[in-house]
Each structure stands twice: as C-alpha cells, then as structure tokens.
C-alpha cells in the first residue's frame, strides 16, 4: 500500500490537538462549579441580599441576582436566597418571599436563553426549602417544604407534590436522591433512604433511633446508601462526638474537643469529600471569658489523625441562625467555602465589616490556605436608619 506520510502526520497532529483541547475543556468548561463559586452576598447598590459569582481563576466576583423581597430601607431582609448549579450553563436561584411562597429563577450563563421564572405560590414554610442543598435529577429540582416534597421540572415547569413528609438531599454521587422521614408519633426515630426521582416513592434503608442525646445542635447526619453508613454528631454539647454506624453497629467514634474551649458543631450538615476519609463541617468555639465565638471549618479525619480547626470569623455567642449558613465543599473535595453574609442579613451588628466575606479554604494542604473575598455590608443600621 502506498503510504501518504504527510497526510498521516497531519492527522496525527489533529489527534494530538484534539486530545489537548479535550483535556483543557474537561478541566475547565465541563466543571464550572469547582472554579466558580456561587455565594450569598449584598448588592453593593441597593444593599439587598444577593447572589454573587466568584471566579477562582480571575479572582473576580460579579453580582448575578439581587433579592427583590429585601427591604433595605428598614433592614428587614425578609427574602432568603439559595443558588445552585443546574448544569454547566444554568444557575438556579431560589428566593423565599414571605413564608409561604417560593420563586425559582433559572439564569443562563452565556448563550441567548431567557431567564426562566417559576413561581410556587403554595409552599408552606418556604424558607425551609433553602436550608439544605437542592437535590437534582436531570432537569428536576426537589424542594423540601413543611410535610411536603415538591418536584419541579425547570425546563417544562411541570410540578409534582408529595405529602409524604420526606426531606430530600443530594447523594454523594450527584445522582441519588437521599430521603429522610421522621416516623409518625415520634421525633426520636428517623428513616433514612432513597427517593425515586420519577415517582417520589421513598425506600427506607435505615432507621436511626436518636438515643444519642443532642445531635450536634441541629447538624444533619450524612447517609451513604451505597454502604449503609450513617455519620452523625452525638453526645452533649460539651462532649460531642462523631459517630459512624453501619447496620446498627457503631463502627467509629471520636470525641470532638480542643483543649478547654467549648466546641459546638454547627453544621448545618456533614460533608464527606470524594475520598471519604474525613468529615467536613462548621464549628463554633467559645473560650472562657469571651463574649464572641470563633466560627470556622472543622475537619474530622476518619482515622487517628488529629482534628483540624480552621478559624474564619467571629460570631456573637447568642447566634442561633447557623442553619441559614450555606457552606459547601467543591466536587473534588479540595475547597470548602462559606459566606458570612447570612449573619448580616438578620442583624448587621452581628458581623464586623472586616468579617463579611466569602471564605475559601483549600483543604488539600498541610496548612489550609484561606482566600477571603470581601463583601460590603450595607450601610443600614439594625434599627433601619442609614
């Protein structure tokens, strides 16, 4: 066969180029959520609660959504916001207006698509839907309400409501929908399982008898349906411990303590990175004689390695709104992020201006590196005066 060597060299060059372009594309555009971070912020113009997007490559932030329910003049930010990536090109912003309705906005990133709005007028205790990350299955968004689970298709607007008292959370694999249900007539037994994204049917896999005392001040356990393991914070406030159970048997425990400080795990949930070798959550610590608490990231290795505390900012000792914090762990498990804006929403004076920021903690280093992206606190006093 006559060889066409120049053509073959050109085609091999095309092959090399294609591979290079593919690798570059996969490491950037295919996973924007690990390079761009959505976080609660304040609109610098109106002072309203907003959602901003931080680009870790350029180090720049942009405001992408401003909450319309926020009454900046009186400092009553009634709106609660949560944002999530739907896919590489769409961002979901959910806004709880008042207590009984919820608006969903789908913001396209690039392209010429319109912004979609889906209004849910009957969502009792709608702010509850924003406490935990949204479970997603293709175009379907799962929203937790008071005793009801609502599934919304953001492409078609189709809605399905199940009044089975199930609470959903996204699974570790990004596909499984985790379900949780308090057993009727008791608030001490809870079923953990999976939810069928099509029918919303709940399949219980494990029942947790809360015989462990205070479960980490509202910190939600982490359930892994693949292994049947459940990770939870148990014990009294001053004697908390991480517990890993499987098939009703305690597989691992370790006490959460640091010297004489009073450590409280404030969650709101427990994250496991892809390696599943440690638990990530938030903590507060109050030293004797201090009126403020230290808030930061707590890493609890699932072995004998020491606990790692990364202090980030100060919060008043009487803070009770930790459920509203929206920390998140990147998909690759290397960065933990939290915005302190939630503290300023309820009470400006709860937050020092210097502490109002998005904090990104690189957890893949021996000494965590903290990137602080400042957020400007609105110039409104707690009593509503400018």
């Amino acid at each position: 066969m006559k060889m066409n060597r120049p053509l073959h060299i050109v085609l091999a060059g095309i092959g090399c180029g294609s591979l290079l372009i593919y690798i570059l594309a996969c490491a950037t555009a295919f996973s924007p959520d690990d390079r761009q971070v959505l976080y609660p912020s304040f609109d610098p113009q109106s002072g309203a609660l907003s959602i901003a997007l931080y680009d870790r490559d350029t180090g720049r932030s942009e405001q992408i959504f401003s909450g319309h329910e926020a009454h900046t003049g009186t400092n009553l930010h009634s709106a609660s916001l949560r944002a999530a990536w739907l896919d590489a090109k769409h961002i979901l912003v959910a806004e709880a207006g008042g207590k009984n309705n919820l608006s969903l906005f789908v913001l396209p990133r690039g392209g010429k698509e319109p912004v979609r709005q889906i209004f849910l007028p009957d969502m009792p205790e709608s702010p509850d839907a924003l406490l935990y990350p949204f479970a997603l299955s293709g175009p379907k968004i799962f929203l937790n309400g008071e005793h009801q689970l609502t599934r919304v298709d953001w492409m078609t607007g189709e809605m399905l409501v199940a009044t089975n008292g199930i609470l959903t959370l996204p699974g570790d694999d990004g596909q499984t929908i985790l379900g949780f249900r308090e057993q009727r007539g008791t608030n001490q037994m809870m079923d953990f399982g999976t939810v069928d994204p099509q029918t919303l049917a709940f399949t219980p896999r494990l029942t947790l008898h809360d015989d462990t005392g205070n479960s980490g001040d509202g910190t939600f356990p982490h359930f892994d349906p693949a292994t049947g393991k459940i990770y939870l914070i148990s014990g009294e406030k001053t004697n908390a411990q991480l517990c890993v159970r499987q098939d009703g048997v305690e597989k691992f425990t370790r006490r959460i303590a640091r010297g004489t400080d009073q450590i409280t795990v404030v969650g709101p949930w427990l994250d496991l990175g892809p390696k599943k070798d440690r638990v990530f959550t938030a903590y507060t610590s109050q030293a004797a004689g201090q009126t403020n608490c230290e808030y930061g990231l707590l890493e609890i290795p699932l072995n004998e390695q020491p606990l790692r505390f990364t202090p980030l900012f100060q919060v008043p000792a009487d803070t009770d709104s930790f459920l509203m914090a929206q920390p998140s762990l990147s998909h690759d498990g290397r960065t933990w992020a939290v915005s302190s804006a939630w503290l300023g929403v309820k009470k400006k004076s709860a937050l020092q201006p210097a502490d109002c920021a998005l904090f990104l903690v690189s957890v893949d280093r021996s000494h965590p590196n903290i990137t602080k992206v400042p957020i400007t606190l609105p110039a409104v006093e707690d009593d509503g005066l400018k």
Partner: protein
C-alpha cells in the same frame, strides 16, 4: 489503586462529581466522558497492537467522525445522559488511537482490512460501548478497580503515542535543519 489515580487524573479531568460514576461506592478517577475516552483508548490500543488495521480512506473517515462527535457532545448541543457522555468518550478514544498511530505504522502498512478485522473492531467497540456504563452503573468495587485499571491503561497508551509522535516530529525537524545547513553554500 483508585485513591492513587484520583490526584493523577485531576490534572486532566474536572472530576465533576455530578458526572462521575462510583460502582460499589468506589468513585472512579475521572468523569463519565473521560472514563469513556481512556477505556476506549485502552481497548483500541490493544486492538491496534493485535490486528494492525490498514489506514484506508474509509478507516480514516470513520475515525475522523468518531473524533468529530465530541464537538456536539462536549458543547452539549445534544441532550445527554451518563451513557451518552461515556459513549462519546469511547468513540473519541478509538479515533484518537487510530490517528495517533498513523505515523508509527511503519513503511509498509497493510493495504486493506479483512472483513474479520472490521467485524472484530466493530464487535469490540460495541462491547466497550455497552459494558463500560453497565459495569460503572451496576458493578461492585471489583468493577470499579477494573475500570480504573482500564482508564489508567488508556491514559498510558495515549501518553506513549503522543510522546512517540512528538519524538518523530522532533527527529524530522532536526534532520530538516541539518539537511538545510549541509546544502547551504559556504
């Protein structure tokens, strides 16, 4: 093994958890599409080693189409699920091996592909397209390790081919420069 592969593949894959499989609870070292690319490249490299297909025009067009299919898939111009993401990767992996092997085919490559060769390639591609998502979605930890090993093998095959092509290009360049220097009048 998978724990060892994770940091290595983080250099070439976004490792988007929402687009990654974890058979038997073991997270694969790269996303579904990259798993397809490297598993496809691994299988294709074995086939090329065993059968040395002839680079006929039809063969080149077919593999070129495999490469091009990545454009609408990668840019999400077509709706996709995990299986399709993986399939686009497998086709891309097959195309890459076919193109990268061309300069290394020697001076006398075979002239045409026998029906048995074509059938063998088609069957292997089909098995790869069916088995990879099946193992990834329904397999246990053993399947995860098998897929991890195939992924590493495919990445290794691609790295060797890219380096070999680079070496050939460098050698061609050096020869060209030395030839032009020897023909330049003093």
């Amino acid at each position: 093994m998978l724990e060892f592969l994770h940091p290595i593949f983080s250099w070439v894959c976004g490792q988007n958890l929402a687009h990654s499989w974890s058979p038997g609870g073991e997270l694969l070292p790269c996303c579904q599409r990259c798993t397809g690319v490297y598993v496809g490249a691994f299988v294709a490299a074995l086939l090329h080693l065993a059968w040395r297909p002839a680079p006929t025009p039809r063969w080149l067009w077919l593999n070129g189409a495999f490469l091009l299919f990545m454009v609408p898939s990668g840019f999400y111009w077509i709706p996709q699920n995990p299986e399709l993401r993986c399939a686009s990767g497998i086709l891309f992996g097959f195309g890459l091996i076919a193109f990268l092997r061309l300069p290394l085919a020697g001076k006398n490559p075979p002239e045409k592909n026998s029906p048995a060769q074509i059938g063998g390639f088609a069957a292997a591609l089909l098995v790869c397209l069916l088995l990879t998502p099946l193992l990834a979605e329904n397999g246990n930890a053993l399947a995860a390790n098998f897929l991890g090993a195939a992924t590493a093998g495919g990445a290794l095959a691609l790295a060797i081919l890219v380096l070999a092509n680079f070496f050939l290009a460098l050698r061609w360049l050096v020869r060209r420069i030395s030839r032009s220097e020897s023909t330049t009048p003093a």
